[in-house]
Structure formats: structure tokens, C-alpha cells
């Protein structure tokens, strides 16, 4: 009974919240894009291409945030056996992978004017690449295991093992990078960036987060619907 009660309450909550979330997302994007494209000055070295950063950096933030959300949801699924937690983790993954891909693609675009090559094995980009692989592995596990409850149990372990490893991988990639080439150009130390660039970044980061929230809720909604449909079909085939 609990299995149905919870998603139902979640669905009505999501349906009520979604319009507001979309409105907030659009407003935040409007403000952020104004700051990024109009009010922020071009870089004295990189010129207008610096504006790629406003797509790249929030995407990279979100890629990491979404994996954290996935790992937290997986932990909740293990500890509290909350039926929605697996749905949350499963549906977050493809969205996170898209953010991750966006960060990689824009990083590559940015690399061309900066280093003269479409791809450079910079520490940040390399870590982001490994994170992308972790997303791919997680999604592949859901697709490879047919039985849903078992897939959920295995996916939780994959998410948590990946999450434990992310800091270790990050640390090792940074170490590797300093061995081969000092100082990354893509450094984004908050303190050294001018406020006129920083505020659009932060607003866009927030806008991305709300975009994720909206997409995630919609994706969870359709996943729940798919599961209900499957359960109905199983129940009907049982009666027949």
C-alpha cells in the first residue's frame, strides 16, 4: 500500500510545483544570459570566446551536483528503502550525463582558440571525462539488468562505489597533470574573477539547477507512470 501512497503524493506535489519551477528557471536564465552576453566585458586576452565559460562552468558544476544527488538517492534507497529514491537516482543519471557532455563539448570548443587544439588533456577536462564514464556505466547497468528490483539494487552499489571514487580520481588526475604540465588555463578560482563575471556565473548556476529540478521531476513523473503501466499489464496478464 505504501508503495502506491508515496508516489501518488509525490505526483500531485510535482504537478503543482512544476509550473512555478519552470517560471523561475526562465527568469533566472533571462537574468543570467543578460549578465553573460551583455553586461560582462570581453576578456582582454580571450576576447568574446570567454563567454563559452558561461555555458561550460555551470554545466560542469551540475554534472558533479547531479552525481551527488544520485549517490544520495541511492544511499536513501539502501537505508530507508524509500520507493521513490531508486526512481530519483535512475532518472537523474541521463540528465547528469547530458550536463557532463555539455561541459566536455564546450570545454573542447573553448580549447580551440585557447590552445589551438580541439582537445587538450587538461586536469579538469580529464576528470570530467572520467565522470562521464561513470555516468555511462551507471546508465548501462540499468539497461543491462532486466529485472527491475535487482537492477535497482545493483545500480545503488554502482552509484555509491563511483561516488566514493570521484574524489580519489580527481586527486589522482590533478597529481598526474602537475607531473606533466603545470598550471591549468581553465582555472576558476572564485577570488580572482571580477564580480561582473562572477554574478552571471552564479545566476546561471542557479538557473541550471532549476532546469535540472524541472527536468528531473518530469522524468521521475514519466518513470512512475511507466512502472504503473507495467504493473497493470502484469496484473492483467495474471488474470487472463
Amino acid at each position: 500500500m505504501q508503495q502506491f501512497a508515496n508516489p501518488t503524493r509525490f505526483l500531485s506535489l510535482a504537478n503543482r510545483a512544476l509550473p512555478t519551477i519552470w517560471v523561475v528557471t526562465i527568469i533566472l536564465f533571462a537574468i543570467g544570459l543578460y549578465g553573460a552576453l551583455v553586461s560582462a566585458p570581453p576578456d582582454y586576452q580571450q576576447g568574446e570566446t570567454v563567454r563559452i565559460m558561461f555555458v561550460h562552468v555551470p554545466a560542469a558544476w551540475l554534472a558533479m551536483l547531479v552525481y551527488t544527488v544520485m549517490a544520495l538517492a541511492s544511499a536513501v534507497a539502501i537505508i530507508f528503502r524509500h520507493p521513490l529514491a531508486d526512481v530519483a537516482a535512475k532518472t537523474a543519471a541521463p540528465i547528469g550525463a547530458v550536463f557532463c557532455f555539455l561541459a566536455l563539448a564546450t570545454g573542447s570548443l573553448w580549447g580551440k582558440p585557447m590552445w589551438g587544439a580541439w582537445w587538450v588533456w587538461d586536469a579538469r577536462l580529464t576528470s570530467m571525462f572520467v565522470l562521464f564514464l561513470l555516468y555511462v556505466g551507471y546508465i548501462a547497468i540499468w539497461q543491462a539488468i532486466e529485472e527491475p528490483t535487482r537492477a535497482a539494487m545493483i545500480a545503488r552499489i554502482v552509484a555509491l562505489v563511483g561516488f566514493v571514487n570521484i574524489p580519489i580520481i580527481k586527486f589522482s588526475v590533478d597529481w598526474w597533470n602537475t607531473l606533466h604540465q603545470p598550471a591549468s588555463v581553465l582555472r576558476m578560482d572564485g577570488s580572482t574573477i571580477d564580480w561582473s563575471i562572477r554574478w552571471p556565473l552564479l545566476v546561471l548556476g542557479l538557473a541550471y539547477s532549476f532546469l535540472f529540478l524541472a527536468l528531473h521531476l518530469m522524468s521521475m513523473r514519466s518513470e512512475i507512470a511507466t512502472r504503473k503501466l507495467r504493473n497493470l499489464q502484469i496484473a492483467r496478464s495474471g488474470e487472463a
Binding site: 572520467v130 564514464l133 561513470l134 555511462v136 556505466g137 548501462a140 547497468i141 543491462a144 539488468i145 535487482r150 539494487m153 545493483i154 552499489i157 554502482v158 555509491l160 562505489v161 563511483g162 566514493v164 571514487n165 580519489i168 580520481i169 586527486f171 589522482s172 588526475v173 597529481w175 598526474w176 607531473l179
Partner: protein
């Protein structure tokens, strides 16, 4: 304790008697070592520069490709079910099987690999630190492989999937294994220590993750 020793002994005997043990892994290793100069070109200087990296990556792949042996057979013939039922801790069973894999496959490979590096014109003064780093790192490789093997226990396309799941986890071992052999003299000691720390962390975490995955498949 006695039961774990019995398990270790059995797995080692099986690895020695059945194909697919260290012999096959070594064969794979050699095959890759022959293909690489053909792909890269026979230039001695280039090969010497690339040798440690080639040896490490070949080691990672050999360990990974033999990983499905850790649990697969015991799953198929029902032995694993009985092990899960038994009062023994499944974490310790998983750890023991990972250790058996290390002893039977990864350890012999990591001892042989630096010497096979002679084929790539590996600098002789590197052989000793490379062996040390590989022996240390290979235990972490086997432990991490046991996670992948348990996660893909019952999957037909497990071979490819296990690579996607495990290879990203091998990045730290590769980084510190390389910096212990080719880095500055002053980073060799810290690299070896970090490698040891990674091994210890895997020693604790891998059995927990592997046992959880085995339970998910069998219960």
C-alpha cells in the same frame, strides 16, 4: 578462518588446473606487447619512452579480462548460492576470492611484466621500482575487479559492461603506478605510499561492495 583457507586453496587449485588462469593472461599480455610495436613503429627511443605506460595499461587489461572468473563459475554451478546461505560472512568470502585472483593471476603478471618490458627496450634501472609498484598496485586491481565481477554476475554482455564499470576506478592506480616509475626521484616514495593507501582502501571497500552485489543477485 579454516573455511576461508579451504576456499582459497580450492580457488588456487582450480586456477592452476583449468585454462583461463595465469597462462592465458600471460599469453594475452604477450600478444598485446607484440601488437604495440607493430602499431607504433619499431623506433627504440619511442618504445623506451612509452614502455612503462604500455606495460601498466596491458596489466590493467589482463587483470580486467580475467576478472569474470572470480565469481562466474561458482555462480553458474550453484556453489555461490551455498556460500551465500552458509553462516560464513559473505564479505570475507568475496575478499578471499579476490585474494585468490590476485595470487593466481595479477601477482604473477605484475612480477613478469617488468621483465617482458625488455621487449620494449625498457630502461633497466626502472625494472625494480616498476615491479614494486606493480605488485602493490595489482592487489588493488584484483580487488576492484572483484567489484566489477560481482556487479555483472548474471549478465550476458558482462564483458563490455565490466570494462566500463571498472576501468574508471583503475585511473588512480594507473596514475600513481606511473608516477612511481617515471616521475621525479622525489615523488617515487610518496607515489608508492599512496598506491599502498589505495590498496588498503580497496581492501576494506571492495569486499563490502562485492558482497552487496552478490546478495542482490542471489537473494
Amino acid at each position: 578462518m579454516k573455511l576461508l583457507l579451504a576456499l582459497l586453496r580450492r580457488d588456487l587449485i582450480l586456477a592452476a588446473r583449468q585454462g583461463g588462469g595465469v597462462g592465458t593472461a600471460l599469453g594475452f599480455f604477450l600478444t598485446v606487447l607484440v601488437l604495440l610495436p607493430i602499431g607504433i613503429g619499431p623506433d627504440q627511443v619511442t618504445l623506451q619512452r612509452l614502455a612503462p605506460g604500455i606495460l601498466w595499461i596491458t596489466l590493467l587489461l589482463s587483470v580486467l579480462l580475467s576478472a569474470d572468473r572470480i565469481f562466474q563459475q561458482d555462480f553458474e554451478d550453484g556453489s555461490l548460492e551455498i556460500m551465500v546461505m552458509a553462516p560464513a560472512s559473505l564479505e570475507l568470502v568475496a575478499l578471499t576470492k579476490a585474494i585468490a585472483h590476485w595470487l593466481s593471476t595479477s601477482l604473477p603478471l605484475s612480477i613478469a611484466a617488468p621483465f617482458l618490458g625488455i621487449l620494449l627496450n625498457l630502461r633497466t634501472e626502472i625494472i625494480w621500482p616498476l615491479t614494486l609498484a606493480m605488485v602493490l598496485g595489482s592487489s588493488a586491481l584484483s580487488l576492484l575487479a572483484s567489484i566489477g565481477a560481482s556487479l555483472t554476475l548474471n549478465l550476458r554482455r558482462g564483458g563490455l559492461l565490466i570494462s566500463i564499470l571498472v576501468l574508471p576506478l583503475y585511473v588512480p592506480v594507473l596514475v600513481f603506478g606511473m608516477s612511481a616509475t617515471t616521475g621525479n626521484p622525489e615523488v617515487i616514495a610518496p607515489s608508492l605510499l599512496i598506491l599502498a593507501a589505495i590498496t588498503l582502501a580497496s581492501l576494506v571497500l571492495a569486499p563490502i561492495a562485492a558482497a552487496a552485489a552478490l546478495r542482490a543477485y542471489l537473494k
